[in-house]
Amino acid sequence: MNRLSWFNTVSLTLGFAFLYIPMVILIIFSFNESKLVTVWAGFSTKWYGELMQNQAFLDAAWVTVRVAVFSSTLATILGTMAAYVMVRGGRFFGRTLFSGMIYAPLVMPEVITGLSLLLLFIGIGLDRGILTIVLAHTTFSMCYVSVVVSSRLVTFDQSLEEAALDLGCSPAQAFRLVTLPIIAPAVISGWLLAFTLSLDDLVIASFTSGPSATTLPIKIFSAVRLGVSPEINALSTIMIAVVTVGVITASLVSKRAMVRQRQEEQAAARTE
C-alpha cells in the first residue's frame, strides 16, 4: 500500500466530509432520545418503533415500492426495446432524430416533464393516483434504461444473433435465448437505476399524484414543512441503509464475476 501525501490526504478528507457529514448527522440524530432534533439526550431506538406505528408513513412507503417496481419494470421493457431498435435497426428513416430525441428527457427540467404529464392526464380524463405516477415515472426513467442498454448493445457481437438464426431460431427466439441472457447485466442495472430514480422522485410525483396515493418523498417533504421530527430521521436512515446495502451487493457481485472470469481466461490460456 502506498502512503498518501499530505495534499492527497487533505483532499480526500475534505471531499468525503463534504459528501457524508450531512448524512452521518442525520443517522446520529435518528437515534436521539429527545424529541428536539438539535439537542442530544442519549441513545434510543424509540423513533423507529413509533415509525412502525405511523400508518400514514407505512401507506406511503407501500405506494412508493409498488410505483417503483411497476414503473421500473415497464421502463426496462420499453427502454430495452427502444435501445434494440436504435442499435440494431439499421439505417431507417429518421433514426438520427429518434436517437437524439430519446436522450432529451435526460436534460428536460423535471418541473416541465411533471407539468406536461399533468396536462396530459387532465386532458384524457385520467384520475390521478398510483396509475398516473407509474406512467409518469416510466416516461422519464425509460430513457435512462435505454442509454444503459444501448451502450451494452453497441459492443455486442452481432454474429451471435446471426449464429442463433442460423441454428434455427426465429428472430424472437434469438433475442430471448441469446441476446437477452448476454445483455442481462445491463438490463438489470437499468432496472435498478429506474427503481432508484422512481424511489426518490419528488417533483414529478407531486404533479401526478392524487389524494388517493402519496409517495414517501412527498410525505417526507410535507411533514418536514411542519418541522423536522426524529421520526423522519429514522425513516431516512432506513432508506439510506436499504440503498447502501443494494449498491454494495451489486458492486460485489459484479466484481466477483469479473475476477472469476479473468482467472478462468488465464487458466484457459495456460492450457493452450
Partner: protein, 375 residues
Amino acid sequence: MNSTVFAPWEDPQAKPLIQFKNVTKRFGDFTAIDNLSLDIFEREFFALLGPSGCGKTTMMRMLAGFEKPTEGHIMLSGQDIDPVPPNKRAVNMMFQSYALFPHLNVWDNIAFGLRRDNMPKHDLEDRVEEMLRLTRLEKFARRKPHQISGGQRQRVALARSLAKAPKLLLLDEPLGALDKKLRQDTQFELMDIQEKTGTTFVIVTHDQEEAMTVASRVAVMDQGKLMQVATPDRIYENPNSVYVADFIGDVNIIEGRATAAVEGTYSIEWAEGQPPLTATSAASFGNGQACHLAIRPEKVTISAERPADAVNAVQGKVHDIAYLGNLSTYHVELPNGTIIKAQTANTRRISRRSFTWEDPVWLSWTATAAVLLAD
C-alpha cells in the same frame, strides 16, 4: 487404389447442389457481386479465395440467408432459396469470430441447434456426444467458451455447425485466429471431418495456401467476379489470367509479343538483343499479339554454365538471395534490368551453396514450364 476420381464438375449429368444464377448484389452504389454464375456439387470442399473486399464473404452471407441477391437467384437442390429465411435453411455456418454463446457451456452450445428442432432428448444427447467425439472435445463438454483455448473454441464452433447435419456447411475464415502450426493441423482435421461426414463445405479464405490444401475446387475472386474456378493444381499450373497467376503463389511475369512457330508453340520477342523465348500454349495467339509469359520460380533452373539442351536460357547476375531454410529463392537481374526469380531446394548445407551475390548465372526452363497468357 480407388480409380474413380471425385470430379462431379466434369460430369455433364451431375446435378449441382448449389447454383448461383446471374447473381448480382449491390449495397447502395457499390456492386459487391457482379452477375455471377457458379455451380457447387454435393460432397465438394469448395474454396472462395480472394483479397478482402472481393465479395467472397457476401457470397457466403447470401448462402446463409443474411443477405438477399439484388438480381438473379440462388438454388439449393434445385429449389430457389431467396425467400427462405436463415432459420429455415438446411445450411449452417461457422463464423469467423466463432460466435459461441458465452452464457452456455460447450455441450449446450452444440445442442443449441438441435433443441430448436425439438429433437427427442435421447437422440439429442447421442448426437451431441457424437459431435464431441468427432471434434475430440469430450473432456471440455462442461466448460464455458472463455474457459477453453482458441483451438478448442474453433472445434466447438465446428461441432455446433455440424450438429444439425446440414446439406451445406459454410466456413468463414475458420482458421484465421489460429497460429500457423495449429492452423496447418486443423486444415487436415477439417478435411478429415469433411470426408467422414460427407457434408458439402464452402470455405471463405484469403489464405491461398489454405484454399489449395483443403479444397477440391477453388474459385479465385476479384471485384465481385469469378476469375477462375478449377482444381488447386489447375489454378496453380494453368492460371487463365495474369491476375490468378499473380494471386496464387509466386510467379515471374515476362511481357512480350507472340509469333506462332511449330504446331502449338510460340516464340516470344521480349527484349531488344535477347533471343526469343519458346513456350507451348493450348490457346491461340495472333502474330505480334501482346502476351504475358508466367513462369513459377521453382520451374526455373539456375546454373553456372549454359545448359546445352536448354530451350530457354538467359544470363544474368545474382541480385538477392532469400534463404527460407528448405528452399532458397534467387533474384537474378538480367542485363535489361528485369528480375527473374528462381527457386531451388537446399539439398546441400548453406556453406556449400554454389552461388552468391553478384555471381553471373544462367537461368533456363523448358517450353512447357511457362504459361502464355493474353492479359
